[in-house]
């Protein structure tokens, strides 16, 4: 191919165009995220009143944080509940979505149909339909009725669990997971799709090699699929934690929302900020484990 333009080195090319490509996003990020974030941090230390001259803010120092951590009897309990919720929901969602993704990634006729089947809950759970259930205040009734219909309540789970003599934390875990099983399964849809996208990116060649070497399905999963899926899994874990922690049904979020409606914006912001720091700590731990354990074990491929 004959080129009229004199060739430039790749590095020069990158220097020249990289900034152009990323600038729209950076501008958007600064205007619609960074500025609001800092403003919101400021608000969590301030008292916000709406007067005749518009919105007035007055700096009050740590008063809002004192209010939520010392005066408010529910707040810390809510944070603890949220923490427990992470450990119940996230592993469950991960396992469900992983199993579904592996099943759905197989090559057979009608897999689009099956995938569609599993994606429908995502539309429901993220959409206006769920909103409708919630506003009608009938979520629990609906769920209870649905699980009745599915024959769930025919079995007395608590009695069965009691009979198994499991350690009490495990028993709590199972009964909580069961009571929320519908919400959890419905929440697994997006994760399933993310994992399928990850699975499809694993080169067939690797499976080919595994087959030639005589690996069975179990070994193939642990030595071929899993190591290459770690990156996707970290993404999925983070996504799931966010989904669980930032759900509008979450105790803290709804408490903060009530505060916003009462125009106590400062207290509401303080509630959310303290909670975010807490969730961020959990995510940092997960990143740390990922870096230390998995990247070390599988090197660059992870």
């Amino acid at each position: 191919m004959i080129r009229k333009v004199k060739p430039k080195s790749l590095e020069r090319l990158k220097e020249r165009y990289a900034f152009m490509f990323i600038s729209p996003w950076i501008i958007g990020m600064i205007i619609f995220f960074l500025f609001p974030i800092f403003h919101s941090i400021y608000l969590s230390f301030a008292n916000l009143t709406i007067g005749t001259e518009g919105v007035l803010t007055e700096f009050v120092g740590s008063e809002n944080y004192y209010k939520i951590l010392v005066t408010d009897p529910e707040y810390l309990d809510n944070v603890l509940d949220a923490f427990k919720n992470i450990f119940i929901s996230v592993p469950f969602i991960l396992v469900v979505s992983m199993v579904l993704a592996l099943l759905l990634n197989g090559k057979y006729k009608g897999r689009i149909f099956f995938r569609g089947l599993y994606f429908l809950p995502v539309i429901i759970a993220s959409g206006s339909v769920l909103q409708l259930f919630l506003t009608a205040g009938s979520t629990n009734a609906t769920e209870a009725a649905v699980s009745d219909a599915a024959g769930f309540n025919l079995i007395d789970f608590d009695a069965v669990l009691g009979g198994l003599n499991l350690p009490s934390f495990l028993e709590d875990y199972i009964s909580l997971a069961l009571s929320e099983i519908f919400m959890l399964v419905w929440q697994s849809g997006i994760q399933t799709i993310l994992i399928i996208a990850g699975l499809q990116s694993i080169p067939d060649l690797h499976y080919e090699v595994a087959r030639v070497e005589g690996a069975n399905a179990w070994e193939t999963f642990w030595f071929v699929t899993f190591p290459q899926l770690i990156r996707t899994m970290v993404l999925v874990i983070i996504f799931t934690i966010i989904e669980v922690c930032a759900a509008n049904t979450n105790g803290i979020i709804s408490a903060a929302y009530r505060k916003f409606n009462d125009i106590e914006y400062g207290v509401g912001s303080a509630m959310l900020w303290f909670y975010y720091i807490f969730v961020a700590a959990v995510m940092l731990i997960i990143f740390f484990i990922y870096q230390r354990v998995f990247v070390k074990k599988w090197g660059e491929s992870a």
């Binding site: 689009i112 994606f119 219909a149």
Partner: protein, 297 residues
Amino acid sequence: MKKLRQLLHLPRVNEAKRYTRSKVGNFFYFFFLFAAGVFSLLPMIYCVVTSFKPLDELLVFPPTLFTVKRPTLNNFLALPDLISSLSVPLSRYVFNSIFIAVVGTVLCVIFSAMSAFVLSKTDIKHKGIIFTVIQFALLFNSYTLAIPQYIIYSTLGVINTYFVYLLPTLASSMGVFLMKQYMDGYVPDALIEAAHIDGADWFQIFGKIIVPIIRPCMLTLTLFTFLGLWNVGNAGTIFSEQLKTLPTVMATIATGGLARTGSSMAVSVIMMIPPILVYLISQSSIKETMGSAGIKG
């Protein structure tokens, strides 16, 4: 360039890859898939069934969930009446919703891909800081930012315009995060170098090398963004009725109380159709990625 593309379109080494499974295994495989599928479908069925129920059956207690004795189309037929009592024709809401969802999704996917390309494949300054900000941004619930964002919109003078819906899609942290992770894993640096040596300029590298490889990721992001934008409400920043979206109409219809339950279910059944269509289109056009075929063969 031509050589490279030939390389990219190499036929796959072996198309037929299947684990040999017994007939019993196959049976359980599909049985499990089907059972779990029905399980996750229950709310959907509930929704559809309810939309066909006459009023007296809706009010039965305990509720009958999946059975309807006398199915009726009244809930759907009542919609034109309900809609004609709105001050703005329904077509306007439909247009708004579709316009916002399509334009927003396209903007979001293109800008995310561009930024992710830079973050993943160049050594731009402060890369680490930018990526930390992205991960941080993923955490935030929209409530936290509601008031500060309102202040920004009003400073920019875009309150009560389409921009309120569209501008935030430019700064999608989820999209960039998803794409960057994907590119780190599946776009080999060597491929970009090879393209450069073959004489591709920056835009060709992006359009002809990067985009085809990250297609699965782009389609997944399209799906998420579309869903998010399709369900977007008018969080206190849209006041004129002409600019509101379909979910708002649905909320209006649903506020009619118990008597409107059937109709609001009918609307939600209709609301579900476009996301399902987008899903089917995006999923069926995901082909196996070509990233591996380009270099490793």
